[in-house]
Symmetry: C2
Subunit: 318 residues, 2 copies
């Protein structure tokens, strides 16, 4: 990241899962919807900047799926289509308490032996987001994108439990870590989130975003702290992909602000807010349905609502 804050637009690449998701919730059930971390991320980021997706799909991934991404201007040329392969598949169920989800099925498909080879365009990216996949794959992509000036990484408890050292190595090589608060605690073996986040920053990242589900998200940057609630929704239809949309809105907004934005705390707070806006829309309907038909002015209205629901007046003169 340069020392000067220039308004040059930067390019954003995301690697992550491209998936079919089957989801059951108290509000209904859907089979084989387009999903995956890279899909949710890139659709959210597409409202702010040009975004390229990297990841493998099988030959069950058809024109309809490509079209969802292309409609939003997402560059799909680095999606690797494996003939005879099956696209990653996930099935899960949510109860009335949307914070508890149960995985019913996971089929890696073409992700099982994915060996990422990025195009020259993707390798030249200024910003890179490493979605939630096996940490060694994240490191390999990070290595290929060695010109990226700002790199974000998301992960999950599965990798903390099974490949902790690889995950720690991957985290050492990135600038921003996105993780659930419980996962940050588990990863750092430190029950206090403030201290756990500080330990993450000692590894390398300059900022830590603690995702807190229905409680929103918190941002740790050196000595500063910022917290944002989730948007108050009466109905959360499908929470799948909320964290990816959050990261997509966050990174997409930063990319739109050009080189240097990530060094500006006010911009990081705006990025948190745009991320939360995108996540809040995403959960209102199944899969990508709501974000697909989202309009930019809806995003901006909800941004202003976030300012309203968090505003504290100065104390009265005593």
């Amino acid at each position: 990241m340069g020392l000067h804050y220039a308004a040059r637009l930067v390019s954003l690449v995301v690697i992550g899962s491209i998936a079919f998701d089957s989801v059951r919730t108290p509000f209904g059930e859907r089979e084989r919807m387009l999903g995956g971390s890279a899909v949710h991320f890139s659709l959210a980021a597409s409202f702010f900047t040009d975004t390229r997706v990297v990841g493998p799909v099988g030959d069950d991934f058809g024109d309809a799926e490509y079209e969802v991404l292309r409609e939003r201007g997402v560059d799909t040329s680095d999606i690797e289509r494996v003939e005879g392969g099956k696209t990653f598949f996930w099935a899960g169920e949510y109860g009335y308490d949307v914070n508890a989800r149960e995985t019913l099925d996971t089929q890696l498909g073409v992700f099982g032996d994915f060996d990422p080879k990025l195009s020259d365009e993707s390798r030249a990216a200024d910003m890179l987001f490493l979605g939630n996949i096996q940490p060694d794959l994240q490191r390999e992509v990070r290595r290929q994108c060695d010109r990226a000036e700002l790199v974000g990484l998301d992960s999950m408890n599965l990798w903390i439990d099974t490949t902790r050292e690889s995950l720690l190595a991957a985290i050492r090589e990135v600038d921003l870590l996105f993780l659930n608060d419980a996962e940050i605690r588990e990863l750092m073996e430190e029950p206090n989130l403030v201290r756990a986040a500080r330990r993450v920053m000692e590894l390398g990242p300059r900022a830590v975003v603690a995702k807190q589900g229905e409680y929103g998200a918190a941002l740790y940057t050196g000595e500063r702290f910022f917290s944002l609630p989730a948007y108050p929704l009466e109905t959360v239809v499908d929470p799948t992909g909320a964290g990816d949309c959050f990261a997509g809105g966050f990174m997409g907004y930063l990319a739109s602000r050009g080189e240097g934005a990530a060094a500006d705390d006010e911009e990081l707070r705006r990025a948190m807010t745009y991320g939360s806006v995108l996540a809040s829309f995403n959960v209102e309907e199944f899969g990508t349905d709501r974000v697909r038909r989202l309009e930019r002015d809806e995003i901006d209205r909800r941004y202003d609502e976030f300012r309203e629901i968090t505003a504290i007046s100065t104390a009265p003169v005593r």
Copy 2:
């Protein structure tokens, strides 16, 4: 509550437990500290307004305990001292995850057959806080304080589980409900907090404060919503009484602003913030230790910090 916002100071009465607490945490262990909901509440409120405590103690409650309250200007003349009786006793343990606590012992003592008889001064209170005690006792005190123009109530899952109808009846008669978010959901049998809070308001209260522990608190008032994070602390030594200090700071601040303040959304948000400030200090040390030596300028500095950690700038011009 009057229709006009007058700056007349109002009187605040709290009924709740006055207790000895034994607490074990990863940071140490303390025996028979002064505690209880009415104690924590009144110490917190005392920074803003004159506060009277109502509740029973045994003859094990000595001058040293009275002195803690009187040092902060709390009126103890309605504390009923039962000769031969034992003060309410609670023992509990917290793990490194401060959100999970285990009750090791509860001895009701003089609370077992407490029959509240308020003095004329307490009956004339403008504002009343019904701390977490058996709901029928709360109703009896509410009946005696029938001139109170603003009444807040706190409760807990024990009363939801054992005396739900009494608790609902008590809630119908108050203006503000303070409850943990999980308890609000359980009470209203509605997993979505926004809807559960709305249902509480259909019962009678004009506002609902959802306490969320380490995630802060949310305020529901009719169509408006406000959310505030907890203050980011690296060490939470003893979480006991945090909710009571929150309510004490909240109600005490409102009382200091005079009749009508509770009808003003900006004042309610300030009350949320002062409540969070008091709660955050309380948990920094065991029992009442930190709040006892707290200074008003520390409160005001932390209020300003809350404004800082929640501030979102306007979106950049697009």
